[in-house]
């Protein structure tokens, strides 16, 4: 059971380039999330999805797009990368609806992105 897997783990982009980060989960979770974390800061929600085919904006959505074509995958796209998007990106999926209201988010190992 791999849990949540992010691809790639590291990437360096030039300003203006585009790229897609892939998040895959094998736990059949409905909810998935993309966060960014800057040095010394907490996690900020970029976009999220509550099910296949659905997406919604989080706290800092500008400059990013997402897609959830398959339940197990959540893609984060940067159409024209900027230095301000240099950050560590985390994907998560959420276990919900189990006994006694227990929910638990499972995170990937992160993608370290540098835009030069």
């Amino acid at each position: 059971n791999a849990g949540v897997t992010q691809t790639p783990k590291f990437r360096v982009l030039k300003t203006g380039q585009s790229m897609t980060l892939l998040c895959a989960q094998d736990m059949n979770h409905e909810y998935m999330y993309w966060y960014r974390q800057d040095p010394g800061m907490g996690l900020r929600l970029i976009h999220y999805s509550v099910g296949e085919g659905t997406t919604a904006k989080g706290e800092v959505p500008d400059g990013y797009n997402v897609s959830r074509l398959k339940k197990q995958n959540f893609l984060l796209g940067l159409e024209s990368a900027a230095p301000s998007q240099t950050s560590v990106y985390f994907c998560a999926s959420l276990l919900t609806g189990v006994m006694e209201g227990r929910t638990e988010a499972f995170f990937g190992q992160g993608t370290r992105l540098t835009v030069v």
């Binding site: 949540v4 909810y31 999330y33 966060y35 800061m41 907490g42 996690l43 900020r44 929600l45 999220y48 509550v50 919604a56 989080g58 706290e59 560590v88 985390f90 998560a92 959420l94 919900t96 609806g97 209201g101 227990r102 929910t103 638990e104 988010a105 499972f106 995170f107 990937g108 190992q109 992160g110």
Partner: protein, 114 residues
């Protein structure tokens, strides 16, 4: 979504008990309180979750007073490996009242010293 407030940082020494308090004055009836731990260069991981009174597991205890406007994460006898960022989240597990958002905030950086 209920807004949470927690201290930015805390220091402790090995072997001490650490209590981190989170304020959530506008917590909703259906909201649960969840704590996560994040080590450097890793994603957060779930520690504990509760609705009221006290919850205990092998890692920590969570104390929630009757008015539920705050909660306290208690880490017994911390070690150097407990140095991490701790996040308090408040929300409805089923998403019926919060549309599925999961907001983490800045968290509390705990530094455990020898």
């Amino acid at each position: 979504l209920a807004k949470t407030t927690q201290p930015i940082s805390m220091d402790s020494y090995e072997g001490q008990e650490v209590n981190i308090t989170c304020s959530h004055n506008n917590i909703a009836t259906n909201d649960y309180i969840t704590w996560y731990q994040q080590f450097p260069s890793q994603g957060p991981r779930f520690i504990i979750q509760g609705y009221k009174t006290k919850v205990t597991n092998e890692v920590a205890s969570l104390f929630i007073p009757a008015d539920r406007k705050s909660s306290t994460l208690s880490l017994p006898r911390v070690s150097l490996s407990d140095t991490a960022v701790y996040y308090c989240l408040v929300g409805d597990p089923d998403g019926s009242s919060n549309t599925g958002k999961l907001i983490f905030g800045q968290g509390t950086t705990l530094q455990v010293k020898p």
